[in-house]
């Protein structure tokens, strides 16, 4: 059974249509990279997919996603807010419980964030911030992750680390990426978006970054 299927969907916001007539089928266990120019409609498509998946998916949005004035612990813990009672959440906001600290620590250790557990997110470096955002998504119980440009502001080494952790920890990975080489390395299916429509849908095996050039050059047409 497929995880999700779109049939001729359109989407947009503020009355402006951005996606037109998109059909797509996603199977559990797939690692899909959505590639295309900025403004092509990748983020809108991810929003649409996340809307369908709801809380079965963990989300890593593009920006302003973490609460700056809360600690790393609290931001990661927020991945499971919807699962706990308000009173437990409130207590953890003021006096974090040892069991929850331990759970969060388990997620943070492989991401080398252990000693930042109680630092405010506002004090972190760009890479630490991005890894905290990932830790929050990993702490979320969903087996699917929807990530919009999760490695846009970190160096290549950290980008590889974040993407491979994501691949290890989650069953299904849906990514919007502008880095073609990384997309090919970590995804097994590439979906090319252009002008609000899907213009390419192919396994990544054997592809080179140059094969994706057409998505970015004006005028080119590709049939998948």
């Amino acid at each position: 059974m497929s995880l999700l299927e779109l049939r001729g969907e359109s989407a947009g916001y503020n009355g402006k249509s951005i996606l037109r007539d998109v059909s797509l089928k996603i199977e559990p266990g797939e690692r899909i990279a959505f590639v295309g120019e900025s403004g092509a409609g990748k983020s809108t498509l991810l929003r649409l997919l996340y809307g369908r998946l709801g809380n079965t998916a963990a989300l890593m949005p593009q920006d302003s996603a973490l609460v700056q004035s809360l600690s790393v612990f609290h931001n990661v813990y927020m991945g499971r807010l919807h699962q706990c009672s308000v009173w437990r959440n409130l207590r953890n906001l003021l006096f974090p419980a040892a069991t929850d600290i331990e759970e969060v620590r388990k997620v943070l250790t492989p991401l080398r964030l252990e000693e930042k557990l109680f630092s405010n997110v506002g004090q972190l470096s760009g890479g630490q911030y991005q890894r905290t955002a990932l830790a929050r998504a990993l702490y979320h119980p969903g087996r699917v992750i929807v990530a919009d440009e999760p490695v846009s502001s970190v160096d290549e080494h950290q980008a590889s680390e974040i993407l491979s952790t994501m691949n290890c920890e989650k069953e299904t990975v849906l990514l919007a990426m502008h880095d073609r080489a990384l997309a090919l390395e970590f995804a097994n299916r590439i979906i090319g978006i252009r002008d609000g429509g899907i213009v390419m849908d192919t396994p990544s095996a054997g592809m080179t970054p140059e094969d994706l050039d057409e998505l970015y050059l004006a005028g080119g047409m590709i049939t998948a």
Binding site: P61, V67, H74, L90, L117
Partner: protein, 495 residues
């Protein structure tokens, strides 16, 4: 290795203030002493929902006088404040402004009452003087923060006046206008309250109607007052301003005469501490006795009560703000609920805290409770409004939780700093109001000031007002140092 969890400076300050507020509350008298407070409250509610607009003559006159005092007071305060802002870089001007704004309008009114009696001059000056001190400070800050770039482009040799008119003024004019509107709203509240010491404004009629139990008239007065404030943007238009000012000057009852000899005597004799006035050989010794007596019997207990009430009201304001701001926040409530929230906050913040305290005092009897409730309701409605509006600019992520979880984890952490900034900014305002509420019978410094005026001991009254002003300046300085240490900032719109 799990790192130790260090409390943040913000958290430490919060717990410190909570603790102080709690200790002050433990020692406070907050008993309800009236026999059946809820019966009277029921009668009041009944009156509130059945406003009586038939006493049109007195209603119209009360509103007209309230507006006239506010207009003229704020206009003169604005002119003087603008002038002072231009020379605000002189230390003597800064200190002078801090001093005149540290004294509440009602204290100024009590002073001028001794000089000019019930002449309109008393009300106009009582508003204009403290307001010019406040306006000077805010205008000076606006001028300081204005864009410096146009100044660099001024041709060499342009005079200072023309540079100011052409370069500085256009840039800051809009800020001045917005702030003047806000001041006029404050002026209307101040003017209404001046009625409680005998001027013919809203407070006077309110007190009379209330004392006689005519709650439907109280309701009509308050509803008219809210309408005037709520529609201010409609009726306050620049071309109409001269008409309003001339009209205001024309309707005020200028007939009251006052004698210059009397004023001179007040200024040169009455307010001089009695031992100095009496002179003689033992002047120094008796002056020391006079100050010691005043300190032990009035200043010390009055200051303790003032600070105690201020701290309770400050903490209560903070806690109440956490309940008030969600009422108008689009992140937490839908459009219909928010409309109700807006109406509630407008009504609560438009009611002067003095009037709130007066009403509650009549229901509950004398204790600190009416003052705590009045001060925290009024100030929490003001801060809650600003913070609620601030949440309109926040964007939450797609998977943000809902309900109480959203409130605690997504919203409160984001608004906490600006909220504390506003709270500390209003600390000094709360202190000034606390002192004034003494006139209603709560034993803060205002109580002793009012008693001294009633006993015609003007030297004591002036000395106590001086102490109140110094206390206010100290709290202002403390608040400023806490705000700068925690790096809490308020924006221009929030002053």
């Amino acid at each position: 290795m799990i790192p130790r969890r260090e409390p943040s400076p913000l958290g430490r300050t919060t717990s410190g203030f909570l603790l102080v507020g709690f200790i002050c509350l433990v020692f406070a008298d907050i008993a309800i002493s009236t026999g059946d407070p809820w019966k009277e409250f029921g009668l009041l509610l009944n009156g509130i929902v059945t406003p009586n607009f038939y006493q049109t003559d007195s209603l119209t006159l009360a509103i007209a006088y309230t507006m006239a005092f506010a207009m003229l007071g704020v206009a003169f305060g604005n002119i003087a404040g603008f002038g002072l802002a231009l020379v605000f870089h002189y230390r003597v001007v800064r200190v002078g402004c801090a001093f005149i704004r540290a004294i509440h309008e009602l204290f100024w009114a009590l002073i001028f009452l001794q000089m000019f009696g019930l002449s309109p001059l008393t009300g106009i000056l009582a508003i204009a003087i403290p307001y010019s001190g406040i306006i000077a400070k805010v205008y000076a800050e606006i001028l300081e923060e204005a864009d410096p770039r146009p100044l660099a482009a001024v041709p060499v040799g342009a005079g200072r006046t023309s540079t100011f008119i052409f370069v500085r003024l256009p840039d800051v004019w809009a800020h001045f206008r917005t702030y003047s509107m806000y001041r006029l709203e404050c002026g209307l509240r101040s003017s209404a309250v001046l009625g409680f010491i005998g001027l013919p404004t809203l407070g006077f009629h309110l007190e009379t109607a209330f004392k006689e139990g005519y709650y439907s008239e109280v309701s009509a007065l308050l509803i008219l007052f809210y309408l005037i404030i709520a529609t201010m943007r409609v009726w306050m238009k620049k071309p109409l301003l001269p008409i309003y000012l001339i009209g205001a000057a024309a309707i005020l009852p200028w007939g009251v005469t006052f004698s210059w000899a009397h004023i001179t005597r007040f200024l040169t004799e009455d307010i001089i501490p009695y031992p100095i006035r009496a002179g003689g050989e033992n002047m120094m010794a008796s002056l020391v006795d006079w100050v010691t007596m005043l300190f032990l019997n009035q200043i010390w207990p009055g200051t303790i009560a003032t600070v105690q009430l201020t701290m309770i009201a400050l903490v209560a304001t903070g806690l109440l703000t956490l309940f008030f701001f969600p009422l108008i926040s689009p992140l937490l409530f839908g459009r219909t609920a928010r409309t109700g929230g807006h109406v509630f906050l407008v009504v609560v913040r438009s009611t002067p805290e003095y009037i709130l305290a007066f009403v509650l005092l009549n229901l509950w009897g004398p204790s600190m409770l009416p003052a705590i409730v009045a001060l925290s309701l009024h100030n929490a409605a003001i801060i809650g409004h600003l913070i609620g509006r601030f949440t309109e600019t926040l964007k939450l992520r797609l998977d943000a939780v809902k309900g109480l979880n959203r409130y605690f984890y997504e919203v409160v952490p984001r608004v906490y700093r600006p909220m504390l900034a506003l709270l500390f900014y209003r600390w000094e305002v709360i202190l000034r109001e606390t002192a004034i509420l003494g006139i209603l019978g709560i034993a803060t410094l205002g109580f002793y000031v009012d008693s001294a005026f009633a006993d015609l001991r003007f030297d004591r009254a002036m000395f106590l007002i001086l102490i109140t002003a110094i206390l206010n300046i100290c709290v202002d300085a403390l608040s400023r140092s806490i705000r700068s240490r925690l790096r809490l900032h308020t924006t221009l719109e929030e002053r």
